[in-house]
Symmetry: C2
Subunit: 243 residues, 2 copies
């Protein structure tokens, strides 16, 4: 059977989702936990890679198994073999052709900025600390420009490649609660480092270094160097995968 | 001059606020940081001890100093010598007779319960994970019984002592946001483990093991063994000290 699982993890101690030779990945830890439960060789397919240090509240993955463990017991069984920074929150049987990556319609990422005079010890693992005042109205005006289908090449890491750099941002909200500013972006797909580069560009706009209108020319330039810097991984969190 | 500072810290890696011989305390780390800045021997007075593993969003402390560092620069200077799990968020000059502990009128503590089927990797350092359903209405009825001036001896760690075990709870709210249940208690003072024992008693009430009305007899018994168990430290956070 084909099993779809919902995952939450803190990325701080991992090299990211994807299996790597000399570093510990979420995928490897998860595969080993599932294998020790099912006694089968298991390959787990994630909805997408999260980078080193990136968190997930709602990562989705699937794997094929012949296990006889009842599906509702499976999360408990797998969790008993997982460290406390990774948890399976749900498991369900899905059709054989379900593929966590190819079947995904859209994903929601959040990027959190802690905007205060001093950094927060309690939030530090989950936010990017930025002490200068940010003009949220200007940031929202610029974010609105990115909504819709565009070539996001300017917002892709320059050392990366993709068949197509066209993506569709379905929703882009900038929320503020106390000192915490959260960018929430839903898109049909994301280029490598896309959210972190967009976040860096918006911070430049928030401090007035770049104008909100300049987002149009940055987008049109299709040139990574016209956008802002890539903000650090720990502010990024994969919130939800929509199928 | 007498300096009052506002502190945030993650208690995970410390033996608590108070200096100890063979363990690392917040007080010791803070005193060393201030001393390395002011080049004076400094004694920092906290509003109260927080236990091993307990966090603070708004701990207050004071210390006497002859430093010539301008007061508005002082947090930056001290923070430059502090690890990232402790931050000074504000400093101000106060009258010589201000005493972080004796001048405090009341304190606000929160106790956070993550009430879901599976634990949360992202929140795990700051919450007590409890998987069974909790009846919030019953918990709120029981909490209301505790509001006001009472002898809270039933809710004091049995290996501890206090001149008087009478305290006044000014406010007691139980909030729910998603899977997170937060008890917020403001009182003129707290006995040793008082919030954690009250929280444990309320969880017993939330699952129906104890009735809400029983809170009256538990309170009147003045007997630690009639109350619930002491919940773990990591759910507790000192939110605010009021002067």
């Amino acid at each position: 059977m084909n099993v779809k699982i919902l995952l939450e993890y803190e990325g701080t101690c991992y090299s990211g989702w994807q299996r790597q030779k000399n570093a510990l990945s979420i995928q490897e830890v998860l595969e080993k936990a599932i294998q020790s439960i099912t006694k089968e060789k298991v390959r787990v397919i994630g909805s997408g890679r999260t980078d080193s240090g990136v968190h997930a509240l709602g990562q989705v993955a699937n794997f094929k198994t012949y296990t006889k463990i009842p599906i509702e017991k499976l999360p408990y069984a797998i969790n008993s073999k997982l460290p406390e920074d990774i948890t399976v929150k749900h498991a369900q049987i899905v059709p054989e052709d379900f593929h966590a990556r190819f079947s995904a319609k859209s994903k929601v990422y959040s990027y959190s900025i802690y905007n205060a005079k001093f950094p927060s010890p309690l939030l530090r693992r989950y936010v990017y600390f930025f002490p200068l005042p940010l003009n949220l109205e200007e940031m929202r005006r610029a974010a609105d420009i990115l909504i819709g289908e565009h070539d996001f090449k300017s917002f892709m890491a320059s050392n990366s490649s993709a068949k197509s750099t066209v993506r569709c941002i379905k929703r882009f909200e900038i929320l503020k609660r106390g000192n915490l500013i959260t960018l929430q972006i839903e898109a049909n797909g994301f280029l490598y480092n896309m959210v972190r580069i967009i976040a860096g560009t918006l911070v430049d706009i928030g401090i007035g270094k770049t104008k909100a209108e300049d987002m149009i020319s940055i987008l049109n330039s299709k040139d990574r160097s016209s956008a802002g810097k890539t903000l650090p991984a720990q502010g990024l969190c994969l919130m939800k995968v929509i199928y």
